[in-house]
Amino acid sequence: MKNSTASTIKRAGIGLAAATAMMAWSLAAHAEDTYKIGWASDKSNYLSFVDEPLAKGMEVAIDEINAKGGIGGKMKIELDRRDMKSDPMLGATVVQELIAAGAKFIVTTCDTDVSLPGAQMAAKASLPVMSSCGADAAGPSQVPDGYGFLNVPGSLTQGAFLAEYAAAQGYKKAFTLKSKSEGYTHTLANAFEERFKELGGEIVGQAFYTLGDSSYRVTATKMVDSDADVIMSNAFPSDSTAFLKDMERLGNTKPLLLVDGNDTPVIFDAGKQLALSVMATYGGDRSPGSTFSKFEEEYRAKFGADPDSLQTALGYDLVIAVAAAVEAAGSTDGPAVRDALHNLDNVHGATGLITYKDSPIGKGIPKKDYALVKFDLDNKKFITLSTGFPEKFPPVK
């Protein structure tokens, strides 16, 4: 037998030796006057389409800070981004690898559930950890000793924000679309339902889909036929584009409420139903001279194009918040940075003011303003209608 187990072991030995050598090399490459952010990111699986634009936003922020000499003018930021393929076990392994490579702050992928094992590993090493854009408000509470953070105000506040908008528009009966495939795809809709009912609304129907579904015709038929006066969908592309196409085909005329996951140019593939739609997303002040417009300028200078989604701005926010925390802590020590981040108050991010201090939502969850946007179909642009934050939202469960 040519391929006997013995030769397999030999290969194992070589592989491990090569790997160990590589680890040593990357450790040596890590200088002392840098602050390393390690990111166990999805580069090749289903969350990579949000992590990709985020990475660009992070680069813009890192360039901006490093151009001024780094954090506090002296400590450069370095980003080490590695693929965890949206696999929880690999996610934990990658976090361990990043810690070994000298990372002082851990960022995980855009789903607090998939990245929880990695987040717990970071906490065990006394390092603060933040999900790139995961929105489950229960996420940070599952990470021990307060090391867990979100980069967004969470699905509960967003659901409530949409519900308050719906009620203000005078809608009385809502039909929701959600999925049990992920936390995000139903907790947000659940929060919407809870707040909408509180405000006197009624949920006349709920439909469920599975992530990756392509046919929404049965659901769309039910929705169009129902007596709902508004449709709330918790889906994101490419599920949401397929859903909106089916709604168009079945002649829907009811207004639609969409969630922040659709804040990407991909959503314009959905076509005409967008004219009926309003989307919740992040981003406060976008006037000239604001942090957002400064971010856009820097982005254009670096990449030669407009940022293609608000996810990029979230990436920028993340680095700005971390840098502010390190500066405030005056140390790169994990617990110190954690405490400083928890006390962060009104830092200017691209999407507006970021406040972690005394968060009304939950420890480790920032308060940021939401924006309501509508769609300019001809120019494929988002138009901000208003910004704000819900008055009341369901408690973290």
Partner: protein
């Protein structure tokens, strides 16, 4: 062959010991020379080996693939984790679960037994349907079972937090547990394989008509393997849960299914094959992954080409299967491989060895 002689189990034990010795050597090398990350990879590898051997116990003997065993892993993982997780965390995470689950905090072994019993009960209840199927129908039906388990777990919010991560699971899975349970899995798998049931079943997979003519009860034999393999998969699931500390249904879905099935098919149709396949896939994945990370500093930016490593891995699997359609070790076990190797080394002595065997 010697297996048909009275003391067939002796060969099983010798083979198990050889396989275990090799695995222990790998463990020793990594423990002595490896980093903490290498140790993690090793632990995941050992858990995967247990799962792959369990899958092989069904697939290798029956000649039928199963895409459903990850479902049994999920049952083993949740079944044990529910009873070991910190009651304080359960009180927040699953406040509506029955008290006997919410308040339970038992040690690893009994919890693992609970998980295994659940998986075995499910396997026994549904097994008759699956053992009658073969080929693509078996593939689709077992995949269906996995999807059903996944869907039920994703919706069991009161019991498992549904699609959200279930955390607070104590990290009981140590190297010792892994090695001990691996040894147990290997021995049981080898005994099952070399028993009359396993032998008859494999004969039927090669030639159903001859096998049945010789009096092999295919369906009952497959059923035995099905239930036993579910138990092994559940143990692997329990180890997984208590290693990673937080589980979610998505972890037991298509991805893990295909990783395990690939390990088994690439390896060959024996227990040794499952180990060899798991080793090869793990090594390939790790080397490619580390190349990707390593080169992110150098001038060739491999990390900017996500998907490249997966593509290379998949193409290498295609190459392996086209060059060796029967898998790395074909249907041979380790001691048979050694024998064959010896025979080839000393062709002049081959006649004598044959005589000794007869």
């Amino acid at each position: 062959m010697s297996m048909l002689s009275g003391k067939w189990w002796k060969q099983s034990l010798v083979g198990s010991a050889l396989l275990l010795a090799i695995l222990l050597a790998i463990v020793a090398i990594v423990a002595l020379a490896g980093s903490t990350t290498d140790m993690r990879i090793l632990m995941v590898f050992l858990i995967n080996v247990i799962a792959a051997i369990s899958l092989q116990t069904y697939a290798g003997n029956s000649g039928n693939i199963s895409f459903g065993h990850v479902g049994f892993m999920a049952l083993g993982a949740y079944g044990s984790a529910l009873f070991t997780a910190d009651p304080a965390i359960k009180a927040i995470g699953i406040p509506d679960a029955p008290a006997f689950i919410r308040e339970a905090q038992i040690s690893f072994l009994p919890a693992m037994l609970i998980g295994t019993v659940i998986a075995v009960a499910v396997a026994a209840a549904i097994g008759r349907v699956f053992v009658r199927l073969s080929g693509a129908a078996a593939a689709v039906a077992t995949l269906g079972f996995m999807v059903i388990v996944y869907t039920l777990l994703s919706n069991a919010e009161q019991l498992t937090r549904g699609s959200k991560a279930f955390s607070g699971i104590p990290e009981y899975t140590t190297l010792g547990w892994c090695v001990a349970l691996l040894a147990l899995t290997i021995v049981v798998a080898r005994l099952l394989r070399d028993s009359n049931t396993g032998l008859g079943l494999r004969a039927c997979a090669d030639d159903p008509i001859a096998g049945q003519a010789a009096g092999v009860d295919i369906l009952n034999s497959r059923y035995v393997m099905w239930v036993a393999s579910a138990a092994g998969a559940a143990i692997a699931g329990a180890l997984y849960a208590h290693y990673i500390g937080a589980i979610l249904p998505k972890a037991f879905h298509f991805e893990l299914t295909f990783v395990l099935v690939t390990m088994v098919i690439v390896g060959g149709r024996s227990i040794t094959g499952a180990v060899a396949g798991a080793a090869l896939i793990t090594i390939l994945t790790e080397v490619l992954r580390r190349l990707e990370n390593g080169f992110s500093i150098g001038s060739i930016n491999l990390s900017e080409a996500p998907g490249l490593t997966t593509a290379v891995l998949a193409l290498m699997i295609v190459a392996t299967l086209t060059i060796r359609p029967q898998g790395l070790v074909s249907r041979w076990e380790i001691e048979e491989l050694l024998q064959r190797w010896q025979l080839r080394q000393k062709p002049q002595a081959s006649a004598r060895t044959e005589e000794n065997h007869a």
